[in-house]
């Protein structure tokens, strides 16, 4: 304390002022950066949306997940029909909560030929927009390998659709499902762009976006999603990962499962068995 009074204190003040501002700026940047990080929003970070008003359902006690056994799928498309009916999805060729892709490798071809039920030839084969089927275009071809892959929303762990929604109309529930509040959605379609799986679509009549919810209105009542219930070959598996004996827990435990586009960092919660290199 033998310093001249005034000078060091002033220096100290300058020093503190400088580092104080720097610290404030850093803190601000860090907060902004954290807010922008995908997956930065854990349920504990922000107030949880209001829980669904269903008696006896505690969403903190479940962790829903979906499994697809592509080796079982026969491409009957009863899942797609059941989904459209159950969820009143627009009856046209551009709006699907779930769909099935057909991969066909012909002899001598290195790349798969891919189509789904919205292919005009397949729709023509079904004869209406209310029923779906794959046409028989390969009946005379030399098919080397062929399989079907059911697709639906992956209810990602770090959903990019939730990240980009400017009003928080789409959100992730405690039990792991991504939902949309149609009363909040402004219809900007940013989420449609952000989903790498093409799971979202826009309802022109309502001016809002929509997507698969794993039939949230059913699963919270102890029922299975409509597509799972309609599948005649058990290619779709659904259940609670918190329950070790649930079908999905066993499916994930007993198989070497894959997810679609793991490189995106979205953490999809649909687990696949029996898909090939070209499936993404």
């Amino acid at each position: 304390m033998g310093d001249k009074p005034g000078e060091p204190r002033q220096e100290r003040r300058h020093f503190l002022r400088f580092f104080g501002s720097a610290a404030l700026a850093c803190a601000g940047t860090a907060v902004a950066a954290k807010a922008a990080l995908p997956g930065a929003e854990t349920p504990s970070d922000q107030p949880a949306p209001t829980a669904p008003a269903i008696p006896d359902y505690d969403w903190s006690k479940h962790r829903w997940a979906f499994g697809v056994d592509a080796t079982r799928c026969i491409g009957c498309l009863r899942c797609a029909e059941a989904c459209k009916t159950e969820n009143e999805v627009v009856r046209d060729a551009s709006h699907f909560r779930t769909w099935v892709e057909r991969y066909v490798y012909l002899e001598g071809e290195r790349k798969a030929r891919v189509d789904s039920q919205n292919d005009p030839h397949n729709i023509a084969a079904s004869g209406s927009g209310k029923e779906y089927r794959f046409d028989n275009r390969y009946k005379d071809a030399n098919v080397e390998k062929a399989f079907f892959v059911p697709k639906l929303c992956n209810q990602c762990e770090h959903p990019p659709c939730v990240q980009v929604c400017p009003v928080g109309a789409t959100y992730k529930t405690r039990d792991g499902v991504v939902l949309i509040d149609h009363k909040q959605c402004i219809g900007c379609q940013y989420c449609v762009q952000a989903c790498p799986y093409g799971a979202r679509y826009f309802i022109h009549e309502k001016g809002v976006t929509d997507k698969c919810t794993w039939c949230y209105h059913r699963i919270t009542k102890g029922l299975q999603p409509a597509c799972v219930e309609a599948c005649p070959v058990n290619a779709r598996i659904f259940g609670d990962l918190n329950d070790r004996e649930s079908p999905i827990s066993r499916f994930v435990r007993d198989n070497r499962v894959q997810v679609l586009r793991p490189e995106t960092g979205n953490g999809p919660n649909c687990f696949y068995v029996g898909i090939d290199r070209e499936v993404s």
Partner: protein, 426 residues
């Protein structure tokens, strides 16, 4: 590429003899495609309005840059166009939100992005940035045109007189002290406006560049590319408007100003071209999944819009033209014709760039296995007529505004000496 087209299938008729008219509704929003695309992708989310949106913000950012060259950096040669630049920025900015509002499914809920924002969304910033920037521009315009407003308020009667009197906000003081005070405000607002305008447009680039779902967009270079192309589009617009206004007013064009704008255009075009080239080169060089489809797209249907219109006609030709004129020391009518032609070409190039990014990105399917075709509609809320009107209506507004606030001679507004502003804040 093996594939199907929804429209082709409809036109070809149904092989099973189904009644096709009954099925037409099934393809109401379906874009034609080849290869394999996800079923929901056939309804293209962002239409021509989202092409217009970055185009308009770009024109705003560019025009403001030119006005700042005079108001902040004291570049006297830009004085004849500085006032016009400010009014141009304001007139175009007013219509930017309209492009987005017309696109929204629920425009009446748009304010929720500001009232109940979800901060992780890049979209959230638009409301705040645009709102802040509109206020800033209006304030700057008020200070710049205050001498004219006061003069008119004192001279005119009737509704127009009332209009100016209300606009004067009761401040009639044009003393040197008051003017000096105004000058400080203009400088400060112009300084804040530079990051404001550029932030607004860099952010638009971020909206596209940050999406990992589309390879065509996903690039860290997207924000600077959008920013530099914004500056060149705004400068080009100003060149055209300045030359046109002089023609209409039958006064000689200030060649030093025009040439200065030409230099600005040339310099920023170099940056833009290099950035675009590097971005495209990196995309091809990385060659990630789906690059085959991208290359098929680029070397196929994108040859005319990207290589011929955007790069060739809209970028390389004007750069060559401007370089030749600067090298040869061209002056007079030839300079006016050359610089204005270059500016028109640049305006076309930037419009094509917006189209190629926004629409092109959506035409490349997320599957990496197919290509869609966006078919714009002529009528309707998201049709070409509405989109075209959004680009032209600001010009009509500008015509009216320049009558009310003539920007041709900013006599009342203080002309800062070269670098005076920088010294003041230095």
């Amino acid at each position: 590429m093996e594939g199907t087209s929804a429209y082709a299938a409809l036109n070809a008729g149904n092989p099973n003899g189904t009644d096709m008219p009954l099925m037409e509704g099934l393809f109401a929003h379906a874009a034609p495609y080849v290869g394999y695309v996800y079923p929901n992708e056939t309804d293209i989310p962002w239409t021509v309005l989202i092409v217009v949106y970055p185009y308009l913000t770009g024109l705003v950012a560019g025009a403001f840059t030119v006005s700042s060259l005079y108001h902040v950096f004291g570049m006297q040669r830009f004085k004849p166009a500085a006032g016009l630049a400010l009014l141009t920025a304001l007139c175009f900015l007013i219509f930017v939100p309209l492009a987005l509002l017309l696109h929204l499914g629920h425009p009446e809920r748009s304010f929720n992005t500001m009232i109940t924002p979800h901060w992780t969304s890049a979209f959230v910033m638009f409301g705040y940035l645009a709102g802040f920037y509109v206020i800033l521009l209006m304030l700057e315009c008020w200070f710049v045109f205050r001498p004219h407003i006061v003069q008119q308020a004192q001279q005119r009667d009737g509704p127009l007189g009332l209009f100016y009197r209300v606009l004067s906000l009761g401040s009639y003081d044009l003393s040197p002290k008051a003017m000096h005070y105004d000058e400080k405000w203009i400088f400060a607002l112009a300084v804040i406006g530079i990051p404001g305008a550029h932030g607004l447009h860099g952010y638009v680039g971020f909206v596209f560049g940050s999406l990992k779902s589309r390879e065509w967009w996903s690039s860290d270079l997207m924000p600077p590319i959008f920013l530099f192309s914004a500056i060149i589009s705004g400068t080009a617009l100003l060149i055209v408007l300045y030359a046109l206004s002089c023609k209409l007013r039958r006064i000689p064009i200030d060649l030093a100003c025009l040439k200065g704008l030409g230099y600005t255009l040339w310099g920023f075009m170099m940056f833009t071209l290099v950035l675009e080239g590097v971005e495209f080169g990196a995309l091809v060089y990385r060659g990630r999944e789906g690059i085959e489809v991208i290359m098929e797209f680029v070397t196929g249907r994108l040859v005319i819009p990207l290589f011929v219109l955007q790069f060739g006609l809209g970028s390389v030709l004007p750069i060559c033209l401007l370089t030749y004129m600067f090298w040869r020391g061209t002056t007079g009518k030839a300079l006016i014709a050359g610089v204005t032609t270059s500016a028109v070409l640049v305006l076309l190039a930037v419009l094509m760039m917006r189209w190629n990014v926004v629409i092109g990105g959506q035409e490349i399917a997320k599957t990496g296995k197919g290509l869609l075709t966006y078919v714009p509609t002529l009528y309707g809320r998201e049709g070409l007529i509405v989109a075209g009107s959004l680009v032209l209506v600001p010009l009509v507004l500008l015509l009216v505004v320049t009558r009310l606030f003539p920007p041709w001679n900013l006599n009342g507004a203080p002309a800062p000496a070269p670098h005076a502003g920088m010294r003041r804040f230095g």
